[in-house]
């Protein structure tokens, strides 16, 4: 049995059933681990030790009476700091929301509370979920548990690092262009972005509403399946929320499309992909090449759409309607501009300005409208491909985790999302799976599976064929 802080939900439940330990014991162990490691890893922004212990004791009392609420009852988890949590500050890793304490819970937080799960605290992220390295957090960067000189990825870097470093059993993240799958890949954990709309986003602070999805970070695909079965439900408080209508698991030989294209993966990531391909082929799958319209054009379309929507969504953070404000400005206009100029980070400012630029009357047709049209092209192409394939196999990220400070321009950083933006542009479910480690560096390698809308069960089924938890080298993590 693995170190208990790295166990799955099912393993914890079995141990607690056997009275090996209680939820309170487990929660205290995670809190100790957070205390020991957070200074180095920077995964947490806020720890709610008192609330967590109180929830754990309540769970133990229910267990003693045989009244467990769900399979997650008593399991400690953490949430990215863009989920509203009643009474616990929610900063989006921004100075502008440093003191914001929501008066209500996001739907997913409420569902987990009702299921008896134990919230340990709130996790670091790129400010307002804009970034791929966690370096744009206004507080401190999250570092990679495999090698602290490397980034954890982003924007849900705190979520991935917390699970990877044994600082939570599972974590919630958000995925607008790869923000769950990319850090999951860098930190050697499983990351799921479900079909657009199947998990409610009520209470999730918006980045780009047409692509934002609540995502899950776990040790195994089975844990993701378990969580999704609880969280996927129609919520009338989220206008885009839908019910999950699971696609059937394919019968007969699995048909796999292998995404091909120049520059999609480093030699090490390509080698992981080849191993996955061989493994599926050995199990009887038919693996055929698959190509998509220009990856760079997809990245550009994503960048334009995301920035446009973000520039609108973030207009409310002006020091009057939401957020902290500076106290030295004369007149209301200066109050707005000084507050946003001083309290928003560089990447956030860049994307707001860029989003506003591409929405201007003189540029809209050249950027925003073309991006929308290209998005539809991608969606049509991907949906058509699922007549031929059950899943698409691809790299999650072009490279393994890069060094802190290594990437210096915004457009270089955007390339980290090269293989993940398709699923967001098309609203498809996709999962990143750890798939061994790179020779020499010991950094995690990964693969990504993408399915048709509502194809999460297909993803979990194929993942179970590929998953090998022992391939992630637990012992090398800090």
């Amino acid at each position: 049995m693995r170190d208990w802080l790295f166990r799955t939900v099912g393993e914890h439940q079995a141990a607690m059933r056997a009275n090996e330990y209680s939820s309170e014991d487990l929660t205290r162990a995670f809190l100790r681990r957070i205390e020991e490691k957070n200074q180095e890893i920077g995964a947490y922004l806020t720890v709610d030790a008192e609330g967590a212990l109180c929830a754990a004791r309540a769970s133990d009392a229910r267990r003693a009476k045989g009244e467990l609420l769900s399979e997650l009852d008593g399991i400690p988890y953490a949430a990215k700091d863009n989920f509203s949590t009643k009474g616990i500050r929610t900063t989006c890793a921004s100075k502008l929301l440093e003191h914001f304490v929501p008066p209500y819970d996001a739907t997913v937080i409420q569902i987990l509370k009702d299921a008896g799960a134990v919230l340990l605290g709130k996790l670091n992220m790129d400010e307002f979920a804009m970034g791929s390295s966690n370096e744009s957090s206004a507080f401190y960067p999250t570092r990679n548990p495999y090698d602290p000189s490397r980034v954890a990825g982003g924007s849900s870097g705190g979520s991935a690092a917390a699970v990877s470093a044994g600082m939570a059993c599972f974590a919630l993240g958000s995925d607008t262009g790869g923000s769950v799958r990319q850090p999951a890949s860098f930190c050697g954990v499983v990351g799921l972005k479900p079909t657009y709309g199947v998990i409610s986003r009520y209470g999730l602070i918006s980045l780009a509403s047409s692509m934002d999805a609540v995502g899950l970070l776990t040790h195994t695909a089975e844990d993701c399946r378990l969580l999704l079965s609880l969280l996927a439900k129609r919520d009338e408080r989220d206008d885009t929320s839908i019910s999950l209508s699971p696609l059937p698991i394919p019968k007969g030989n699995l048909r796999v499309g292998l995404l091909e294209g120049e520059g999609l993966a480093s030699p090490a990531q390509r080698e992981a992909l080849e191993r996955a391909k061989e493994r599926l082929a050995a199990l009887g799958a038919t693996v055929l090449p698959f190509t998509l319209p220009s990856p760079h054009k997809a990245l550009a379309a994503y960048s334009v759409l995301m920035s446009s929507e973000a520039s609108s969504n973030l207009a409310r953070f002006d020091g009057i309607r939401y957020g902290s404000r500076v106290d030295h400005s004369d007149g209301v206009l200066n109050l707005y501009t000084d507050t946003r100029g001083e309290l928003l980070g560089k990447e956030t400012v860049r994307r707001i300005l860029f989003g506003s630029y591409v929405l201007q009357a003189e540029h809209r047709a050249d950027f925003y409208e073309r991006a929308r049209v290209f998005r539809q092209e991608i969606r049509d192409r991907m949906l058509a491909s699922f007549a031929e394939f059950d899943v698409i196999l691809s790299p999650t990220t072009p490279t393994t985790a890069f060094s802190v400070g290594e990437i210096r321009t915004p457009t270089q950083m955007y390339h980290a999302d090269l293989c993940t933006v398709y699923a967001n542009l098309a609203g498809l479910p996709a999962i990143s799976l750890p798939f061994g480690t790179e020779e020499g560096s010991g950094l995690p390698l990964s693969i990504q599976l993408t399915a048709a809308p509502h194809g999460e069960s297909v993803l979990f089924s194929v993942a179970s064929l590929l998953e090998c938890p022992q391939s992630a080298a637990w012992e090398v993590r800090v």
Binding site: H99, P103, R234, S311, G319, V332, T337, G341, R350
Partner: protein
């Protein structure tokens, strides 16, 4: 494709519209980065496309835009909401002047 150009005046006008003050010492770097982002996205202009438009789709359009029942729900807690106010006086919430003389 050549580098897109954006003047400092255009940057400041854009920033004013976004209600963001850009400090003088940050302008040159920001201008350069924004020009890079514009050039990066100019790849979208390389060819025409006949595809139709989509926006904020869902996979079950029948659900999209469905209205909630018009019923009174649970209210948020007054004290928790007021605690978020940056300025209060007695039991009042203070807002900066938003209308100028």
């Amino acid at each position: 494709m050549g580098m897109a150009t954006l003047s400092e005046q255009e940057l400041l006008s854009l920033a004013a519209r976004c209600r963001i003050h850009i400090k003088e010492e940050n302008r040159a770097r920001l201008l350069w980065e924004l020009e890079g982002m514009i050039a990066f996205s100019s790849v979208l202009q390389t060819e025409e496309s006949e595809a139709c438009d989509s926006y904020a789709f869902s996979h079950e359009p029948k659900n999209y835009g469905e209205l909630r029942a018009d019923e009174i729900g649970e209210s948020l807690e007054r004290d928790a909401l007021l605690a978020l106010a940056p300025m209060t006086e007695d039991c009042y919430l203070c807002v900066p002047r938003t209308l100028e003389d």
